[in-house]
């Protein structure tokens, strides 16, 4: 492996990608909404409703639907505190995974398909890089930023979520075991899933917009997890978190194995 060439491909892709508003906007907006706006909403809502003298009926109803395992975790907390723990620790977990997934996906869309659209791929194919180096460079240029954004996002979230937790629960909730596993094990797998699925999309898609739209379907599994947890089918305990990471890694590796077989310059050039 020629790491200097791989590094050059990464630098090239990132410099180019970061000038695409269609990429930069979601990379900034989604984490800000999830990690800053939502926790503040969690903090603000009970205060607003209790000061208005309303009861917590809706929240109680929501909490009554969660799985028995999760209910045990919330045992002994008053409704507002239980609600805060439920939202901050459990509800947001599948949403958190959307961030690495989306960041990797949208960067990969620009790096794999955008490059074709901009007609800059051909010159790259004539360089002495091997197909493996080319693919590695492109994968890393989407994967590493996804990790960076989720780490940064988590750091930010720890602050805003603790701010809300101290108010409502009386103690900080982060860091904790589930979220640590999420950040170091599941998020990298989610990023890998986001970008390996894009290799497949890129064989069909002609434009960045096409690829981006098709690619955004990868968040669907996270939405399913979110619904499953809200309706009490599952909850994000440590085992589920570990297993989710494992499944995402396995799917990603399978996609990578399949994608690697389609990623040959001799095929890419014929599809330009």
């Amino acid at each position: 492996m020629n790491w200097r060439a791989i590094w050059a491909i990464m630098r090239k892709d990132l410099r180019v990608v970061l000038q695409n508003k269609g990429v930069v906007l979601p990379i900034i907006l989604v984490p800000v909404i999830l990690f800053v706006v939502l926790p503040l909403l969690v903090l603000w809502l009970p205060m607003a409703t209790s000061s208005a003298g309303a009861d917590n009926g809706d929240l109680q109803e929501l909490l009554s639907m969660v799985s028995p395992g999760l209910r045990a975790q919330l045992e002994g907390l008053d409704t507002n505190a239980a609600g805060a723990v439920f939202f901050l620790v459990y509800m947001l977990a599948p949403l958190f995974l959307i961030v690495p997934l989306m960041v990797a996906n949208v960067i990969a869309a620009d790096s794999f398909v955008g490059e074709k659209e901009r007609k800059t791929l051909e010159a790259l194919l004539y360089t002495p890089t091997t197909d493996g180096e080319l693919l590695t460079g492109k994968l890393l240029s989407a994967w590493l930023p996804a990790l960076a954004v989720s780490l940064l996002g988590y750091a930010l979230y720890s602050i805003t979520a603790n701010l809300a937790a101290v108010q409502l629960v009386g103690k900080p909730l982060f860091p904790n075991l589930i979220w640590t596993v999420m950040v170091v094990w599941v998020a990298p797998a989610a990023a890998a899933f986001g970008l390996t699925s894009m290799i497949l999309v890129s064989t069909r898609a002609k434009t960045f917009q096409d690829a981006y739209q098709t690619g955004s379907l990868v968040v669907l599994p996270m939405v399913v997890l979110l619904l499953a947890q809200t309706t009490g089918v599952i909850y994000f305990n440590i085992w589920l978190t570990l297993a989710l990471g494992l499944v995402l890694w396995i799917v990603s590796l399978a996609l990578l194995y399949y994608g690697k077989r389609t990623f040959h310059r001799t095929e890419l050039i014929a599809r330009l």
Binding site: N2, R4, A5, W7, A8, I9, R11, K12, R15, V16, Q19, R118, K119, T120, L121, E122, A123, L124, L125, Y126, T127, P128, T129, T130, R265, T266, I269, A270
Partner: protein, 314 residues
């Protein structure tokens, strides 16, 4: 002398039912500027791809710089530079960054990247705009930058795919100068073009492709000799004998047509072997001859001669 730098034998590439390149056999010598001529779709770009190991041949083989493009692609591409049909530049990046990234990709020694990039920016007259985004460049500037990028790793063999197709005459002339400059530095140049004047001006030898097949190869001069049978000859005669001369020439067996133009008589469609007879006839008729100037056939004549030949073939 030495081994050919490119040797293709029976090289073939199909796309579905299309034969893009059909049993191409040819040799390119070290140090020459080789023109690869053909209409749109003749198979020029496909050939360059095959010779650089970025496209798999359907049949046949090639050796370029002694290497098999399919087996030794990376090692081969380290020594070749390819100017693609579209400049293929990163328009969102500066000229300087476009060059230095490719210097890294081609493994230019780290310490040499900076001086080499600066020197190229200067040579290709881009130094003043080095930090501007390429998207704002004119076509001519883009093409110069693409050419600079093609030689950033000092390749011994250059492939240029229609280097002047999109340029105005001034920009095209600049690119020609640069091609001749790189050729003088000892590089071999393989140039795709359908610009015959360009080929005639720059190339030591040319190959003519038609529907994926090689139909002629040689120096422009040899090809003209060999393939263009009908010459155009200008006779400058004493002004008062024009009418008489016309009469003689129009009845001569070797000339297809003769007519006055700008004070001379132009005979076209003459066979090379018939010219001495025409002169003898005029002298015999007592016409004073000041000058006989056969017009050298151009590559264009060659091209159309070949074209009409292949059109007629079943």
């Amino acid at each position: 002398m030495s081994d050919p730098i490119i040797a293709a034998s029976g090289l073939t590439r199909r796309f579905g039912d299309t034969l893009a390149v059909a049993e191409l056999t040819l040799e390119v010598r070290r140090g020459e500027v080789f023109g690869f001529l053909g209409h749109n779709g003749a198979g020029k770009t496909t050939t360059v791809r095959l010779l650089n190991g970025v496209l798999t041949p359907s049949a046949g083989q090639a050796r370029v710089l002694g290497l098999d493009p399919m087996a030794d692609g990376p090692a081969l591409r380290r020594q070749t530079g390819v100017l693609t049909e579209t400049p293929s530049l990163d328009e969102r990046l500066s000229a300087r960054l476009n060059l230095s990234l490719y210097a890294d990709l081609y493994g230019v020694p780290k310490g040499e990247v900076k001086p080499r990039v600066e020197a190229l920016l200067k040579t290709f007259e881009l130094a003043e705009r080095a930090d501007d985004k390429v998207g704002a460049f004119s076509k001519g500037m883009k093409q110069r930058l693409a050419l600079a990028r093609t030689v950033v790793h000092q390749p011994v063999l250059l492939f240029l795919d229609e280097p002047t197709a999109a340029l105005d005459p001034v920009a095209a002339r600049q690119v020609h100068e640069m091609i001749l400059h790189t050729a003088r530095e000892g590089r071999t140049v393989f140039m795709n073009t359908h610009n015959l004047v360009e080929a005639q001006r720059l190339c030591d030898r040319v190959a003519v492709m038609e529907h994926g097949r090689l139909v002629a190869i040689g120096s422009p001069h040899d090809l003209a000799r060999r393939l263009v049978r009908n010459l155009t000859v200008e006779f400058e005669l004493a002004p008062d004998s024009t009418a008489q001369a016309l009469q003689v020439l129009q009845q001569a067996p070797g000339a297809a047509s003769a007519g006055p133009r700008n004070g001379v008589i132009v005979v076209s469609g003459a066979e090379r072997a018939a010219i001495p007879d025409l002169i003898a006839l005029l002298v015999g008729a007592g016409v004073p001859i000041y000058q006989v100037a056969p017009q050298e056939p151009t590559l264009e004549d060659v091209y159309f001669a070949l074209h009409s030949e292949t059109e007629v073939k079943p």
